[in-house]
Amino acid sequence: MTLFDRTLSQDAETPLLEVDGLTKRYGARIGCADISFDLWPGEVLGIVGESGSGKSTLLSCLAGHLEPGEGRVLYRGRDTVAMPEPARRLLSRTEWAFVHQNPRDGLRMGVSAGGNVGERLMAVGARNYGTIRAAATDWLGRVEIAAERIDDKPRQFSGGMQQRLQIARNLVTGPRLIFMDEPTGGLDVSVQARLLDLLRGLVREMGLSAIIVTHDLAVVRLLADRLMVMKSGHVVESGLTDQVLDDPQHAYTQLLVSSVLQV
């Protein structure tokens, strides 16, 4: 790297997330091992791999839900593993968002749609009912839920609607980084497609960075700029999504891609 290049890259933005040597074990069993990567502002990273390959473990460590055994995670230069829990919890309700595969894990089922969306606003100090209600109405619209459903409980919604509500609830405070674990799992194909469209629009519009875990290569093809392929807790291949999918180098990735083509 020339001096000129170095100056350029310093002037450019620094990574949003810097992950270095991240390892998580469950007793003797490996959850994920020696994971390193950078995520840049506005970038969408896909994580694919078979069941048990460590995708959820990695995501949970990144989002601060699990404590990694080794390694470092820097968010905008701050060490999220070492920071005190209150600071980390504050990040997770302001700068971060987390969309669970099962809406039940990400929604308050006993609270109305409006209350679900408003919760993060109230958590950061919003104390005007009218303002909160207006923001909730606006966000329901953005995820294509009719305003008149604002007082309905999530259990009165379809699976796809619940997932969209979860997204609205997460994005209302304008986070920078969204973690998603199988956000389209368990949904019908047509519902999946609509949700993916919506997600793609929101990610672009808000300039969000995202890390999306999925079994489904079609999902990463549509959403992810870059791809990491995991097997037995390790990253076996990574690169630009199209490159990895069109010209897989690792035997396991080749298997993964070919099994999709057979479907």
Partner: protein, 289 residues
């Protein structure tokens, strides 16, 4: 007659010391729920065994005890607890708020202003104000520790969304000295302003849930609300039909099977006192004076 089979006020001294330590910690950290090892009491949980244990730990032989339930001294619950301490402690009891040194209560704060010489003990069924929306104890404890109280406002938001106004009228959540969010026990929200700045010591005991919390004298207690839906300590829009009081909390009483009804002070001692002093209401007997 004191029943000699028991220690003074039923509980043994070691248990009282344990409870007093919890009370002192509660007073040192106003609004914080202190765990304590609740004892079996010879009465059902619904009767306020938490309050009874706190009372037992505070009671001294020279105390004058008053017990109220929904504002009345003569309900089964109030009478039984009063009798319990007459028997096990031999303490003097009263129905007059002003005469009492220790008042155990369920569902009300007396209308008569309290003084620095008094302790008010509340019976608490569910001490955790966040329980309604977050069932996990590990999580609610963390929320208190980190002052993550957004959820409390979600509850009020739901109220307004459903009813057009904050419909919570009992156990209305409060913030203590700008720090802990607290459930004031199922008192009507009409009583909430009396929690704040009270000269008396206020102690809260939850038996089944094994928690004690406290408000030392002159503690600031603020009822939660929204800027555009401010807290209102509402009451029935009537005066008492027996004593004419316009500023007290009223019970609605059905008087016959043709829809007849009257409004009377829920605080029976206060109402009786006013009537004795010559105050009259809409339904007072003409010749009663």
């Amino acid at each position: 007659m004191t029943d000699q089979a028991y220690n003074f006020a039923y509980l043994d001294e070691a248990t009282k010391r344990m409870i007093r330590r919890a009370i002192l910690k509660g007073l040192a950290v106003p609004g914080y729920q202190v765990p304590f090892a609740s004892r079996e009491m010879p009465m059902p949980y619904g009767w306020g065994t938490g309050g009874v244990q706190v009372t037992a730990a505070c009671l001294a032989p020279e105390d004058i005890l008053k017990v109220i339930d929904q504002g009345a001294d003569d309900t089964t619950n109030a009478v039984s607890i009063r009798k319990f301490f007459e028997r096990t402690g031999g303490v003097e009891t009263t129905e007059h708020t002003a005469e009492a040194t220790l008042i155990q209560t369920r569902h009300r704060i007396p209308e008569h202003p309290l003084t620095e010489d008094q302790i008010l003990v509340y019976q608490v069924p569910i001490p955790e104000p966040l329980r309604f929306l977050e069932p996990r104890e590990s999580e609610t404890r963390k929320m208190h520790a980190l002052q993550e109280y957004g959820l409390m406002h979600v509850k009020l938001y739901e109220d307004i969304a459903r009813h057009g106004a904050i419909a919570t009228s009992y156990a209305y959540p409060v913030k203590v000295e700008g720090r802990y969010v607290m459930d004031p026990s199922p008192i009507p929200k009409f009583d909430n302003p009396k929690l704040s700045g009270s000269p008396a010591i206020q102690l809260f005991g939850a038996g089944r849930e094994q928690r004690i919390y406290a408000l030392p004298p002159y503690t600031e207690v603020v009822s939660l609300d929204f800027e555009d839906h401010p807290f209102e300590p509402s009451k029935a829009d009537h005066a008492c039909d027996l004593c004419g009081a316009a500023e007290t909390y009223l019970d609605e009483v059905i008087t016959d099977d043709r829809g007849g009804r009257m409004f009377v002070c829920s605080d029976t001692d206060y109402c009786t006192g006013r009537q004795a002093a010559g105050h009259r209401g809409r339904l007072s007997p003409e010749d009663a004076a």
